[in-house]
Amino acid sequence: MTLFAVLASVVFGAVAKDTTRDRWLYGLKVFAEFMAIGLVLGWILYFIP
């Protein structure tokens, strides 16, 4: 999941914004969102038989 988040956020970050700083910030934000949503969904599914 972490690998997936890293690879996807690299591409999303590079595509989305115009300045290098904005790209880094957006990439980091997307990475954090992938990780957070993945962990939340993982725990939700853990309790569903």
């Binding site: 690879l7 996807a8 591409v11 590079a14 595509v15």
Partner: protein, 144 residues
């Protein structure tokens, strides 16, 4: 209002043919579009992400889709994932020609990483579509 819109359409510059060439190159070889545009950092980051994603997917035992795996109308269900897989361009074509990653093997499907591999292979293609569009926009002068 209509006249203003039509005037804007008339003033829009046509897409240069080099942009289409760059787009095709970017699809065919992930990262090649940005290499042609001398965007070295983007080529390494975006192309590298696609290549890594694809080979990780294969290494995890993922399965790629083509039209031969379904029967009857169920082959239509293979079309959307096949389009995603096809996004990796030459990587998909070479694997298809060599028969790598297309076999319906129950042992391979039983691997714990099988679904992860499928996802990585699909995502590699979809990320390369994004990469291709980015290279096209840069070549067309719509993006810095």
């Amino acid at each position: 209002m209509v006249k203003t819109e039509s005037a804007q359409v008339e003033r829009a510059e046509p897409t240069p043919s080099i942009a289409w060439l760059v787009g095709v190159a970017a699809w065919f070889v992930p990262g090649a579009g940005h290499l042609l545009l001398r965007k070295w950092g983007r080529a390494i980051a975006m192309g590298g992400a696609v290549w890594i994603c694809f080979f990780l997917g294969l290494r995890m035992g993922g399965h790629m889709f083509d039209l031969s795996s379904g029967q009857g109308s169920s082959s239509l269900l293979q079309v959307p994932p096949m389009i995603a897989n096809l996004g990796t361009g030459v990587l998909y074509i070479v694997c298809w020609l060599l028969g790598i990653g297309f076999a319906d093997d129950p042992q391979q499907a039983a691997r714990a990483t099988y679904e992860y591999g499928n996802t990585f292979l699909l995502i590699a293609g979809l990320l390369n579509y994004l990469t291709m569009l980015d290279a096209f926009d840069i070549a067309a002068g719509r993006k810095p």
